[in-house]
Amino acid sequence: MIEQIRNQARLLLENGDVDVVIGYAEGSDPTRTTPVFIRKAEDVDKLIYDPRCINSLPLYLNKRHEYTRKGWKKTAIIGKGCDIRAIVQLIAENQLKRDEIYILGVPCEGVVSHPEKWDGSLHDGNRASKCTDCDVMTPHETDFFPGDKPDIDRSNPYEATSKNVATLMELELDKRFAFWRTDFDRCFKCYACREVCPHCSCNVCITDETTPSWIDPAAHKKGIFSWHLTRAMHLVGRCTGCGECTRACPMGIQVDLFNQRMKEVVQESYSYKPGYSLEDKHPLITYKVDDREDFIK
């Protein structure tokens, strides 16, 4: 499979169809892989794909990385299904044009949840829970795919959420709050959750605004809670569930539980899941005259 991807990447670079191929390469440690930008055809053999390829590469397509992208007119990117959902969502939000991007889709069997859980194979004990109910293991939107793409029904708007969401929602409100108080106590606001997110595309993040300062930048309870809750709200209906925010958190805080819960709400209210259609606008930035509106009490 990876040979076909490499050959296609080589062709694209040789013909000058793209300036760069964003993919995965071996990391500095056997359990890790790393994002890589391939600019020369002779370097395509560095490209790999296996269940250790966790990163959501579309974050580099985000406008935040304008400096990195300087001089790239057309970019090829290796994408597993969930990453391609992020690309589709960026296009639907006018952050990216479809013809600027060449998508090299890869068939995916799931990825490991954290590099430190990699023991040489993928199994129930280390497969990220986001992969359990995935309907894009054969990706939907591609320019190149090794082999035939089977027809897959992706019409079900309901995606499973992690067991932890249900566990939390079963707790009484004060216990749920106590859980977050304890976990957020570890947060020091490094913003890894923001920086790995393919959808955080503001030029200036609201937490970096100073006039006025909407969110206290210090990592005290108020500053931490207002940051994480604002972040969760800004991703409602847009989060494609890559889980990178939790994976990237250096303090092991499961910040994506908020996003997963909001995903459930959007599914229940609007029968919508983001990242499947290039045209669809997500429910919170559009309206329909025949909206059910049954949540307005």
């Binding site: 440690d29 990385h65 859980k117 992690s162 490094c190 913003y191 790995v196 303090m251």
Partner: protein, 370 residues
């Protein structure tokens, strides 16, 4: 130097004794998880206050995710309060608690980092003292614990430390087999703690066994780099624009994970948290990896590209720090390697610099990056 032995199984009792002596005890502790065995769960080991000896992971696991930094240099603290009355602004002092603290189970890399923080916050030569830091430092005692199982990200031997080093320690523990620990009293503060634990300490230590254990663990380190040529290479200003910086650093996404988990990173910001006509002036952790860290009011940003921010971090560790102070800028704990979401690895820079220093005539610039 006074030595003794201690049963490893008595560490819980040590903690109990220290807690009973009205000391705040900080120890590595596994944090509860929603789904302990779930596929997404990882061990979350952090330095946390413990109230009893039943609840700690001293000597287990490798390194807590946080260092001991936050117990000396707080994540956030108010410097003072203020209130505007008419045309006058009144400055109101804020009361800070500085409890007498013992941190137990500190690994040698973290212990070595304390001196590095001291260089910045309480260096007599620099003529400046951060009172918050020095107050906490003077009331904190470190009981360190030699490493037994370094992982593939550890590289302390590459920065002149070792997994059994007692640098920065007050009381140092090393496993010497049969569930026994060799105890070394290093400082007066360590002696005071040893006195509190005297019922649990026995006879003389076994220096031979301790040296042997240390050497065995040192052998286990796999990530070995030559840091000797780095400073000179960085001092050569021509290398400031070397092609390496962009090639290795362009994948950096600009989060502050590496700096916040780093035991020697110490940058902070100060803002006024205002509410109506009063508020607090607050000091809190900042990171040189953030894009607005060097953003000028004019809109100009001298570090306009992410790889330049990482270049600053590397220079800070291996040039600016050693140039200004005698303490290490990097202690080789490997936290930045483990924490990096995109596997940006400081030891790859170290290896690259060593290579470039040894091959000065190698290509200086890659046309692809111009």
């Amino acid at each position: 130097m006074k030595t003794a032995t201690l049963n490893k199984s008595d560490i819980g009792k040590c903690i109990d004794l220290l807690v009973q002596a009205d000391l705040r005890v900080i120890a590595p502790r596994l944090q509860p998880q929603l789904d302990e065995d779930g596929p997404d769960s990882i061990d979350v080991l952090t330095f946390t206050e413990v109230k009893s000896g039943d609840d700690h992971q001293v000597g287990e696991g490798l390194l807590p995710l946080n260092g001991v930094k936050e117990f000396l240099f707080a994540k956030h603290e108010p410097l003072f309060a203020y209130e505007k009355r008419g045309k006058k602004i009144e400055i109101i002092p804020v009361h800070h608690e500085y409890p007498q603290t013992v941190i137990i189970g500190v690994r040698p890399c973290d212990a070595a980092s304390i001196a590095s923080l001291e260089s910045v916050f309480s260096d007599a030569n620099a003529g400046f003292e951060d009172p918050f830091f020095t107050e906490r430092r003077s009331r904190t005692t470190f009981i360190t614990y030699s490493c037994t199982a370094p992982d593939s990200s550890c590289f302390c031997t590459s920065v002149n430390l070792s997994p059994d080093s007692a640098k920065g320690s007050d009381l140092h523990l090393t496993e010497i087999g049969d569930g026994r620990l060799h105890v070394e009293v290093i400082t007066k503060a360590g002696e005071a703690v040893a006195k509190q634990l005297q019922d649990l300490l026995e006879g003389e230590g076994d220096r031979g066994a301790r040296e042997k254990a240390g050497a065995e663990v040192t052998e286990k380190l796999t990530r070995i780099r030559d840091s000797a040529p780095i400073m000179d290479w960085l001092m050569d200003t021509a290398n400031f624009d070397d092609e390496m910086w962009q090639r290795l650093g362009e994948k950096c996404i600009g989060c502050g994970a590496c700096t916040f988990v780093c035991p020697t990173c110490h940058c902070f910001d100060i803002v006024d948290e205002n509410k109506g006509s009063k508020g607090y002036r607050v000091k809190f952790w900042d990171s040189c990896q953030f894009d607005h860290f060097t953003l000028h009011a004019s809109g100009h940003n001298p570090r306009d590209w992410q790889y330049k921010r990482y270049r600053n971090r590397f220079n800070c560790k291996f040039k600016i720090y050693p140039e200004k102070f005698e303490t290490p800028g990097c202690v080789g704990c490997g936290r930045c390697i483990r924490a990096c979401p995109v596997n940006l690895d400081i030891t790859e820079y170290m290896a690259e610099v060593a290579h470039k220093a040894a091959n000065p005539n190698a290509m200086k610039a890659d046309p692809d990056f111009e």
